[in-house]
């Protein structure tokens, strides 16, 4: 049985749905081989998988998602209203017996985005409401097992933008501040949205068979869909406003978003097996210039138009803003996520 279990674990890793926490993942490296990927096992000196139990539970997966929702909800609520989640939505739940403690928000320059039209304000209200609802939904579903909100640093947009080279030259005005205008907000939102989609795509298959029966998979797939609606909104808005402006120069925010994509790729390359055969899980935005050229609203594998997935490890590298292995905090989460996936791995 042990051999079969090892094969199963390797199979899961090969298919790239295994989160980084699995011990066996470290023994497998995916390398380029001709036109496709092949498994190249290194010396299996690490822990032998025990029995069939995965290293994480369904609650761990939902709590991982909850950490990301805390971040998204704080960002959108500040952008829409100028303040964040109510304390009832961030504290440890009654009966919580875990080890994590509630953190605080470093707002930095976070504020209600100025100069919005009423239609734009209603859009921000919608997304803020929806991300807040995801926090409340996951906390309700997890009950006393829900982790409290970790510390969140909304001032990290600045350093992240510098790292992505989204500088004055790239956006045409001032330093990057997602709370300073609708267009800057779109670029800020863009940092999260495709990531949220891929995080749920990567996490959904990790849910156990019992969890599937219990309805967690359906719930995760339903939140995945909402995140993709949001991502579709953000990418459509950036593309449409660039078309209306007439050129990439006239609307530098499209290029800024693509710089964010490039940074995300840099943060994750080499850190984990990419689910797509091309090795990239990014689809750069394009500026259609005629009635006969396609846009690039959807982020998906260009070979089969199937959406991307990211492992929990890849997502952590992005939200920490670090390509370094073994990092347990940083970036948007100055004290790390309240998750068993908090430490980055190879």
């Amino acid at each position: 049985m042990k051999t079969l279990d090892q094969l199963v674990e390797k199979a899961l890793s090969r298919r790239s749905f295994l989160a980084s926490a699995s011990a066996v993942a470290a023994t497998v490296a995916v390398t380029g081989c001709g036109g496709g990927n092949s498994i190249s096992p290194t010396t299996p000196t690490t822990t032998t998988p025990t029995s069939t139990a995965p290293a994480y539970t369904d609650a761990d997966i939902l709590n991982y998602a909850l950490n990301l929702e805390y971040l998204e909800a704080q960002f959108y609520l500040y952008a829409a209203t100028g303040s964040g989640l109510a304390s009832a939505d961030t504290a440890a739940p009654t009966g919580y017996s875990g080890t994590y403690t509630e953190g605080s928000v470093t707002p930095g320059v976070a504020a209600a985005v100025p100069g919005l039209t009423s239609a734009q304000q209603e859009i921000l209200n919608e997304i803020a409401f929806e991300e807040q609802s995801h926090v409340q939904f996951l906390r309700s579903a997890l009950g006393s097992a829900a982790v409290p909100m970790p510390s969140i640093d909304l001032s990290f947009f600045g350093p992240l933008a510098v790292a992505a080279k989204v500088t004055t030259a790239a956006t045409g005005a001032g330093s990057f501040n997602p709370f300073s205008s609708f267009d800057y907000f779109l670029v800020g939102a863009f940092i999260f949205e495709d990531v949220g989609v891929t995080a749920y795509s990567g996490a959904a298959p990790l849910i156990s068979a019992a969890g599937v029966t219990a309805g967690y998979l359906t719930a995760a797939a339903g939140i995945l869909a909402v995140e993709a609606y949001h991502a579709g909104y953000v990418r459509t808005s950036l593309t449409g406003r660039a078309i209306a402006a007439g050129s990439a120069t006239a609307y530098p925010y499209l290029g800024a978003a693509n710089l964010v994509e490039a940074l995300r790729a840099t943060l994750t390359v080499g850190n984990s097996a990419a689910p797509s055969t091309s090795g990239s899980v990014e689809t750069l935005l394009v500026l259609p210039t005629s009635l006969t050229t396609p846009s690039a609203i959807v982020a998906a594998d260009s070979s089969d138009a199937v959406g991307f997935a990211r492992t929990a490890n890849q997502v952590h590298h992005i939200v920490y803003g670090s390509a370094t292995v073994g990092v347990a905090k940083g970036g948007f989460f100055p004290n790390g996520t309240n998750s068993i996936f908090a430490t980055t791995t190879a």
Binding site: R15, D58, Y216, A305
Partner: protein
Amino acid sequence: MANLETQLLDEMIVKSRRKMLTFGAASLAGLMAGSFKSAEAQAATYTDSDILNFALNLEYLEANFYYMAAFGTTIDVANAASTAAGAPVVTLSGTVGTAGTVSGGSKVPFTTIEVASYAIETAIEEGKHVTTLLSALGGSAAAQPEINIGTSFQTLAAAANQVTPAENIPSGFSPYTSDDTFLVGAYVFEDVGVTAYHGAASLLTTSSNLVVAAGILSVEAYHAGLIRTTLNYLDPDGSQGLLGYTTSISNLRSALSQAGLLGVAPSATSYDANPDDYGLATFTTPTSLGGGSPATATRLVDANPADVVAFARNPTQVLNIVTGGGAVSGSTAVSPAKGVFYPNGMNAGPNGFK
């Protein structure tokens, strides 16, 4: 994508998941409050192939609609426009069931780069979904059924007007006349695709299939977000009538979906109670934003406002929508369901959905 290695891996993964199933589910008891709905308990006489074939039938419809609107051709016939855009030419390799033809539709005379480029992108992606599913299903793939993407829209428009008389869609409605009507036509499909993949996800037993289904689900939701966002930008206050059309269409879908539940209480299934569909009209958030007040919000996301999880539908609900009520007679399911977009019904295996 299915070479020997991945097939073997998939087999191991299946065994792994089934093995997990045999271990106690009790360990999770008490962990979750009652928020999640349990998956519908039903005898799994169908296979993953049946579920993927159901998706394939829907993709045949979507892909042909977008190819016709963007290029003026069907998915299996290249023309100058489809070639110039780099759209795949689909080899109709499916053999299960009776192959049909595609009727109706014409290239939209687009006037804006926004909508034209979106149509082209979406066509290409839906075409790839067809080829991806055909490849995954191999010899088990359903043939392309008879599909009507012409008069079916007028039939649906008339039905939508009956559900919501206040929002009249013109009786001669065609999605092929302008950028605006194309978007309304696309609106008919996109949210339905999301609910169909969402509903199917928990029915799949093979992890690799689930990965693909989740990936296509995300793409369908990107498309739906794209369509809803663009309609919102074109008609932010509803004065152009477009938002009213979406409300009528969503209300019709909701009514057909509810009928597809066949009287089973939705709380006993993984599917949603009526309404399970919302048009683009703004709404007041049911909860306060942060520590503030409820606010007026757009509806760019088609999801349950109680928890903001997207809706899920079972195959009968989806069939009842795309056949305009053909899947239900009184309190009985009708199979094969026929009508509207599928004049002869879908193609499926013996235990499949049609």
